[in-house]
Structure formats: C-alpha cells, structure tokens
C-alpha cells in the first residue's frame, strides 16, 4: 500500500520515509494538490515553526485540498507539528490559521518546566485506541517540542505530562496524530507506524 508524505518544504521527511519503508510500505513525497486529493493515506510530518508550516502549505496550495481530503475521510497521521497543525491556531504563531480540523488552540508549555520538552517520556492511556495497540503501557517515546494541545475527551487517546497534561496521541475518526516522533522512538515508535498502516489497509 502506498502512503503519501506531505512535503511542505521543511521537516525531516527522509527518516519518516525510511521508517515506513522498513515496515514494507510504499511511500511517495507529495507537493501538489492533485497528489493530495488522490492519496489513499496521508502522513503530515512536521519539524520547525508553526508559521513556516502553515506558510509552506499555503504556498503550495495544499491547505484547501488537504482540508477537503480529510473531510472526505482520507486517513491521516500527523507527527509532532503535524498534530499541532490540525488545530485552529497556535500560541507559537498568533494570527496564523491552522487547518482548523480540531477546534481548539495549541499552547506554549508552562514556564515552570524545561522547554523544549526534549527526551523520552511515557504516556497515560485515556481510551483504547488504534495507534498504541500491543505496545506496553510503560513504553517510552521521543518528544521534542515547545508547544502542545490540551487533553480533550473528544480526541485524546493518550496523554503525556510536562508542565500540564497534553495530547500525546490524537484519534478522531480518520484523523490520527502523535506529538512524539514515532520514527525516532525505537521499537515502540515503529509499532505505532505499523498500527497506522494496518488500520489503513
């Protein structure tokens, strides 16, 4: 099965690509609206600044087509900034609109903890989801971020704590996203990607 990785001009695409290929998936990096519209499954990776991300999508005319594809039910896995981009806006770039698929705002981590939140952390499961299937409860995942989305009953499948409880795994119908980097999280991370691929199949 082919998964389409959205290339908006930043972000660490090669490592995501390599991780997916190791699991037997066929991958392509997409930059054009028609490629997004016809994709079977999408990956939205993300490293960098919220505004660079939003601008990158806009300059490639990908914002509207992406929103449409997701409203039409195409499965999506967002990674790190790719999770945050699904929200209405972020404190990292006030005034810039996100994809607005999740009607909430991304916040800065509180100042009483080290920021960026960099390193391996554990999760607290809030419900039985798809991405964490068959992964031990005490598994660690690699995080590297300064902003995060609050926990919500509507979409949070697992939370992590760093200054405040935030959404580490988001699952809402066809929208899936993780705040950590599965492609950098060893065996546990690889299992997350495999769970996504199996769910899409």
């Amino acid at each position: 099965m082919k998964v389409s990785i959205i290339d908006y001009g930043a972000g660490n695409l090669p490592s995501v690509e390599r991780a997916l290929r190791c699991l037997g998936a066929e991958t392509e990096c997409v930059t054009k609206p028609e490629q997004v519209a016809t994709a079977r499954a999408l990956i939205l990776p993300g490293v960098g600044h919220f505004s660079a991300f939003v601008t990158g999508l806009r300059e490639r005319n990908l914002t509207a087509v992406l929103r449409q594809a997701l409203a039409g039910g195409i499965p999506l896995l967002g990674i790190c900034l790719g999770l945050q981009a699904m929200f209405s806006s972020s404190a990292e770039a006030p005034g810039e609109a996100g994809l607005d698929l999740i009607h909430d705002n991304v916040q800065a981590l509180p100042t009483n903890v080290k920021s960026p939140h960099i390193g391996w952390n554990q999760l607290r499961r809030l419900r039985k989801g798809i991405l964490l299937r068959e992964i031990p409860d005490d598994a660690y995942f690699y995080f590297a971020h300064s902003y995060a989305a609050a926990v919500s009953e509507l979409h949070t499948a697992a939370a992590c704590d760093h200054g405040f409880p935030f959404t580490a795994v988001l699952e809402q119908e066809n929208l899936m996203a993780v705040q950590f980097h599965p492609e950098k999280s060893g065996e546990a991370g690889s299992r997350v990607l495999r769970n996504f691929l199996e769910w899409v199949r």
Partner: protein, 254 residues
C-alpha cells in the same frame, strides 16, 4: 510517567573514522561510525551524537557522507555538528539526516548563528555545544577544540545561547574530557540551574557511579560518553539497568 534521563554515546569522527583523544589531543582510531551507530541503536542508546572534530572545509563532503550513512542505521534521535559556521552548514547536516545540529566556536564568534538556526529549524533542532575549563576567573568557555579561551563566562554564555534559541546545551568539561575521572558535577549543576533547557553532561565518564552522580548531583538531563562505550568496556544496557536500580528514570529496552 517521567521524562527519562538519557544516555548518549558520542562518535568523534575524522576523515570517516571514529577517533578518540585524551584532553582534546592524541587521537586514536576507534572504529567505523556506521557499525558503532548500529550497535548503539541496538543496545538502547537514547540518542547519538556525531562530531566532526577536524571540522575543516576540505573534509566537509566526507563528513556529510558519514552523517548520511549513520542516519540510515538509526531509529533514535541523531545530532551532528562540528564546523557549523553558517545557516547553510546546518541545513546540509539536517538534510543529510540529522535531527539536530550542534554549534560551538562559530556561535561564540557570531552568536546570531544560534538565532538564525533556531528561526529556520526550531529550537529543538539547535544544540549549543560549550567546551568549558576552570580558570582563575571561574568556568570559562574555550573555542577551537579547546585550544583558545573565548573570555566568556560559561553560565553567562549558556544563558545567552538559550535566550537566542538553543534548545539544549551540550556541556563538555575540558578538564575531565578523556581523563576517566568522572563528570564535573559542580559545573553541570551550575549550568543546569542557569538555563531552562536540557543539559547534556560530557567529559570524564568512566564508571556507572559517575553517571549516577551526574544525574543526582549534577542535575544533568542526559549524559554523554564515548570511549567507554566504544571499547565495549561498558554496555549501554548494563549501565541503564544499573541506573534504574538506583532510582534514576531511564528507558529500558526489551
């Protein structure tokens, strides 16, 4: 649920080979970077750091090729640096497959480099590497591989680097580096107290107790070592099991 303390093996490379020196001098061949990277990835390293110690313009292409080859071996975070002078140098290293880039001498000479890299790639991708030595005036930052004093106070420089956008500090004690006399816990604690970002302690690791001390007394978020892992004197797995037994939160791989 706890943020784990990280164990980070470091590969100092020169002309495509891993080398190790004592107190920044006297290099010795320690093996192939790809093979060592694959081994550390397997043994449960939490991250890998690759440093171009010669950092010469002429050796740039070779170093980037090493970055590319090492990146293929890893499914853990990967930091690379050495000789990063401009935004384009950082970009090249990240494009070759690193997740983060370290800056050292060039950032001391032109601190805007930190801001430029952070603006382009995000703070999480920028590691400020500082080589520090105790002098009459206190802890001082040295540049050019520890050869030259910068005249900057370590705590003040760490503070400025973070204000400019560095997301982590890689703190190397020149006095301890390669001496196997333990991490400089006093230095590490002093810098950790000064900044709001994670501090990676480096220089002097020999025994398991050294690691325990740098986490407990030095308040390090991560500890880096090279030779003791390269020579297989200690396995990363055994070190982490030891630390877990002493109450340090670490990621144990199964």
């Amino acid at each position: 649920m706890t943020l784990a303390r990280r164990i980070i093996p470091c590969l100092d490379v020169d002309a495509g080979r891993v080398v190790k020196g004592v107190e920044f001098a006297g290099l010795r061949d320690m093996g192939d970077p790809e093979q060592l990277a694959a081994r550390y990835n397997r043994e449960g390293a939490d991250e890998l750091i690759l440093l171009d110690i010669a950092a010469s313009r002429a050796g740039r292409a070779t170093f980037l090729e090493t970055v590319r080859r090492v990146a293929q071996q890893l499914n853990i975070p990967f930091t690379a640096g050495g000789g990063i002078r401009r935004l384009e140098d950082g970009n090249a290293v990240l494009r070759a497959g690193a997740d983060k880039v370290t800056v050292n001498t060039a950032a001391v000479e032109r601190p805007e480099l930190i801001s430029e890299l952070a603006a382009q790639f995000g703070s999480q991708a920028v590691v400020l590497s500082m080589d520090v030595k105790k002098t009459n005036t206190g802890w001082e930052v040295f540049i050019r591989g520890g050869a030259e004093s910068s005249g900057r106070d370590a705590a003040a420089w760490a503070h400025e680097g973070v204000a400019r956008g560095a997301g982590e500090i890689l703190l190397t004690s020149i006095d301890r580096d390669g001496t196997c006399s333990g991490f400089d816990c006093g230095l590490t604690a002093a810098i950790a107290a000064q900044v709001s970002v994670p501090v990676i302690a480096s220089g002097g690791a020999k025994t398991f107790d050294d690691f325990l001390a740098v986490f407990d007394e030095g308040h390090a978020d991560a500890a880096l070592a090279a030779s003791i892992f390269h020579t297989a004197e200690h396995s990363i797995g055994a070190l982490k099991t030891f630390l877990a037994g002493r109450g340090v939160p670490v990621r144990l791989s199964r």
